[in-house]
Amino acid sequence: MSEARLEILNNIRKSLTAGEPKTSQRTSELRARLKSTAPQIQPKFTDDNLTRFCEKHVAVHGTYELIKRVDIETAVLRYLHGLEIDPQIHLGAGPCLDQVVWSENVFIYKKSADKNTRVAVSEAFAAIAETGTLVMRSGGDLLPSHNFLPDDHIVIADCERIVRYQEDVWSMLRKDDHFPQRAINLITGPSKTGDIEQTIQYGAHGPRRLHVLIVKD
């Protein structure tokens, strides 16, 4: 196996002799490039982050509601009631979610989602205005299965954590202790497929619906 490694790398070097030779200086230059994290060209837009996020999120078939921090439970229950779904939820974690004291009306699972999971409630690490994207990360009580198995995914997003561009998220993630987190899931709208007659159908494998509760006090 290491023989293959050597051969491949040697072949690359042989082919690249016209390019820059591999020297330790070159390697450290490239290492430095990895550390220089200035964003390259970014699309300009004028809307504020919240407006843009909501607009883009709706454009990809997401729904949302602006709520106060204290109203998380009510909003979750109202949403589920509207869909006539029992309030049994797989619960994630996060600064907003952790403060909620759930009433007896809600049945809570603190475990991975499975093939029968109906609803998961998660909190986003951040959200991206540019594309209407939610950013989820793994670690501890943050379980990626919640993002992909339920029929309904409800995501709490702190308005303060809606950033302008993807690159802003990378900076936030780098400051996080667990960087690089095992899983970083950027979610933009519910699951969908165009594989049958190139026509979009929602709920291919993952959530059929994606509802965001934007917390803004």
């Binding site: 082919s15 990895l34 390259q40 990809v60 501890g140 979610i187 969908k192």
Partner: protein
């Protein structure tokens, strides 16, 4: 050599004929025709910086390619730091045996797969089945072609060649034994049925195999972009996650990733961003509540290292978005299978001879009108039509083209370089053809031109060429 190419010619022409006469294929392709194109254009028009971002994307890829050895080492270092393993495979066979070994060693029986063109390239499924694994494709399109026992016909829309009726039949045949006895025909019902069948597979798989849209050297992560979420279920639920990727997939940092993501979905499907873009690094951490226990990356060379530094290096920038297929009129006419290998369309016509040998697909670079639409839309600005022309030159120099055609070319060029003689010689057929056709306006048959006249008239030529008229009319006319 010329024997190989003549057999191939027959095979290629046969596949083309089959494709053009395949009613289902033609119906499906007609349906798909303008969707991708219109949506991409809309997305492009909505982003004034699009072309600048394409330049940046190209530059990133070029930078990586000219430092590929170092970036691969830096990437490997990080994967290991994250607790993953990196395996290197010189060719398809080596890659398959590495993956089969990992599966066997982990005691696996069933394997789920996210869509991965590189695994198609290495014929991974049969290799795994040969060692007793049950392999299930989970991308809906891939799943459909797997049920049909076919290869994908498009790199991002594997089942683009299938009509809804065909999918209905396939599902009915394969799902009935699982208890889905109703014959469903509506799109939504079909998607739902596949969803519930595949759910069982996701949760019971022992190993998940995905490709990678990108490998990030900064963090040792693989990035996978999907709309369905199947790649994520494949990456997250089984005990073992194996990533397969060509060595050219590595990019420097997350900021570089942002640039590439901004052109990928727009070029592929006209979306601003796909539903799921996931960045996975290594196996589960001690503090993680879930995730695979082992994480392997299999890096495949299979001819790529030899493309570096060659005239074809730019082909390694390809991010497999499929835009060149969607915009290729020839692909639109014959579909993907006619190309004979897993990479169809313009990118396939450039890549196949490079990966499988110049004499392996002599027709592909020629079966192109050089209309340049592919090159116009490629997000990383690969000069596809120029590369196809380069292939033709290479074929000519390696004498892979037929002796007759080379002889005709030489004779013709000899004539062209003697203009007066050329004009005299050409005046004869011109006069005859004009006599025969001027009454009707066109010929229904010309020597050596049956390909044309079978389906088109050959418009009547002039009685006398322009140059002869010009010079007989007193030099320089009045």
């Amino acid at each position: 050599m010329s024997e190989i190419s003549s057999i191939q010619r027959v095979e290629f022409q046969d596949r083309v004929r089959t494709a053009l006469n395949d009613v289902n294929l033609q119906r499906a392709m007609a349906k798909a025709k303008s969707g991708f194109v219109d949506k991409r254009l809309e997305a492009k028009n909505a982003l004034p910086e699009f072309d600048q971002i394409r330049d940046a994307a190209r530059d990133i890829k070029d930078h990586v390619l000219s430092n590929l050895d170092t970036y691969l080492e830096l990437y490997e270092e990080k994967v290991i730091e994250n607790g993953g393993y990196v395996h290197w495979a010189r060719d398809a066979e080596e890659a398959c045996s590495i993956i089969a070994e990992i599966c066997k060693a982990s005691g696996a029986r069933t394997v789920t797969k996210g869509k991965s063109m590189v695994s198609e390239e290495m014929y991974l499924n049969p290799a795994l089945e040969a060692v007793g694994m049950e392999v299930v494709e989970t991308d809906l399109g891939e799943y459909i072609v797997q049920l049909a026992g076919e290869a994908p016909s498009h790199i991002i829309a594997p089942a683009v060649h299938k009509t809804r009726e065909q999918i209905t039949d396939l599902f009915h045949e394969h799902h009935s034994p699982l208890g889905y006895t109703d014959r469903v025909t509506q799109r939504e019902a079909l998607v739902n049925e596949a969803r519930s069948v595949l759910r069982e597979r996701f949760v019971s798989a022992d190993v998940g195999i995905t490709g990678a849209n990108f490998l990030v050297a900064e963090t040792g992560a693989n990035v996978i972009v999907t709309n369905e979420g199947n790649g994520d279920l494949t990456s997250s639920l089984p005990k073992v996650h194996i990533v397969t990727a060509g060595i050219e997939k590595v990019i420097p940092s997350l900021e570089d990733l942002s640039v590439l993501l901004r052109v990928l979905a727009r070029s592929a499907t006209g979306q601003e961003f796909s539903a799921y873009t996931s960045i996975y690094s290594g196996p589960r951490r001690p503090e993680d509540g879930e995730g695979p226990e082992a994480y392997h990356v299999v890096l495949l060379d299979n001819g790529r290292s030899g493309m570096l530094g060659s005239d074809y290096q730019s082909m390694l920038r390809c991010i497999r978005c499929g835009a060149c297929l969607n915009h290729c009129p020839v692909y639109g006419a014959i579909g993907g299978h006619a190309y004979g290998w897993i990479y169809p369309g313009p990118m396939g016509s450039v890549l196949t001879p490079l990966l499988n040998g110049f004499d392996s697909a002599v027709d592909l670079p020629n079966a192109c009108t050089l209309n340049g639409r592919c090159k116009e839309v490629c997000p990383v600005r690969i000069p596809l039509s120029d590369l196809l022309l380069k292939h033709r030159t290479e074929q000519h120099e390696r004498k892979l083209t037929s002796a007759t055609s080379r002889w005709i070319l030489t004779a013709w060029a000899w004539l062209v370089r003697r203009p007066r003689f050329y004009q005299a010689v050409m005046s004869i057929p011109l006069w005859i053809m004009n006599r025969v056709s001027r009454g009707s306006g066109g010929l229904r048959w010309i020597p050596f031109g049956r390909g044309w006249t079978n389906t088109r008239d050959f418009p009547a030529p002039s009685r006398k060429s322009f140059l002869r008229q010009w010079y007989s009319q007193e030099k320089g006319h009045e």
